[in-house]
């Protein structure tokens, strides 16, 4: 474990987890998908997150295949309803 990242949760995801922010350590070379699977593997309530959520890395929408860097901020974005 040498890849610390910050995970942010909003709206329905925050309500689901009861947390708006988690600090995680992932293996070097981990992708966003690895982060999602790490979380979902923890069981309830984390397995309530979708397998393929929309995410933003450092405030930019990113595919699940994006590799993570040290200190990245990964926001889980529930379906948006602005306007």
């Amino acid at each position: 474990m040498s890849l610390p990242v910050h995970a942010l949760f909003f709206a329905a995801y925050r309500d689901l987890l009861g947390a708006s922010r988690l600090e995680l350590d992932l293996p070097d070379g981990a992708t966003v998908r690895d982060l999602v699977e790490d979380l979902r593997g923890r069981g309830a309530p984390f397995d309530g997150l979708p397998a393929e959520p929309a995410v933003a890395v450092n405030r930019v929408y990113s595919p699940l295949s994006a590799p993570l860097q040290h200190g990245d901020e990964v926001a889980f974005i529930p379906p948006v309803a602005g306007g």
């Binding site: 942010l8 909003f10 709206a11 329905a12 309500d15 929309a54 933003a56 405030r59 930019v60 929408y61 990113s62 595919p63 699940l64 926001a75 974005i77 529930p78 379906p79 948006v80 309803a81 602005g82 306007g83």
Partner: protein, 150 residues
């Protein structure tokens, strides 16, 4: 001249227009989204808007920038409100000023459609029976900030 804001304060449509108004332009368009008192047949008593605020500001700037690039007008102001809103409150206001009306209509329309597709904002409806619910929204594209073919 692109100005965006994600704010708790009530939206004043007149001041949003003022942000883009200019005597060199011939057309000014203002779109205001208003909290409705019903949704899918249920009576709504209010609405709570939340955002990932820092990112929402970036996304609004990107959307307005795309509209400016594609449609030839760079006088665009967008304000999105967050927090507890009442029925009739403005949730979003988009103002565009342009020499030509066609561009103004298209730019404002582009901005509101993109806001609904990818602005990181969520809303929880409060119903008459005291319950509330997150509104089912749109899944933003993974390349959202760069826009589709708009």
């Amino acid at each position: 001249m692109i100005q965006v804001s994600v704010q708790q304060d009530p939206i004043d449509p007149a001041s949003v227009i003022e942000q883009v108004g200019h005597e060199q332009d011939g057309a000014v368009l203002l779109f205001v989204g208003v909290v409705r008192n019903h949704a899918d047949g249920r009576s709504v008593t209010g609405m709570r808007y939340e955002s990932f605020r820092e990112m929402a500001v970036d996304v609004l700037e990107a959307i307005a920038g795309e509209a400016a690039l594609h449609l030839g007008t760079d006088r665009i102001a967008v304000v999105h409100r967050i927090g507890e809103l009442r029925i009739g409150d403005a949730s979003v206001a988009i103002a565009v000023s342009s020499p030509h009306r066609g561009e103004a209509f298209e730019a404002a329309r582009y901005v509101i459609e993109e806001v609904k597709k990818r602005l990181p904002v969520w809303k929880k409806e409060h119903y008459e029976d005291g319950s509330d619910e997150w509104v089912a929204g749109a899944v933003p594209p993974a390349d959202g900030l760069l826009g589709g073919d708009g």
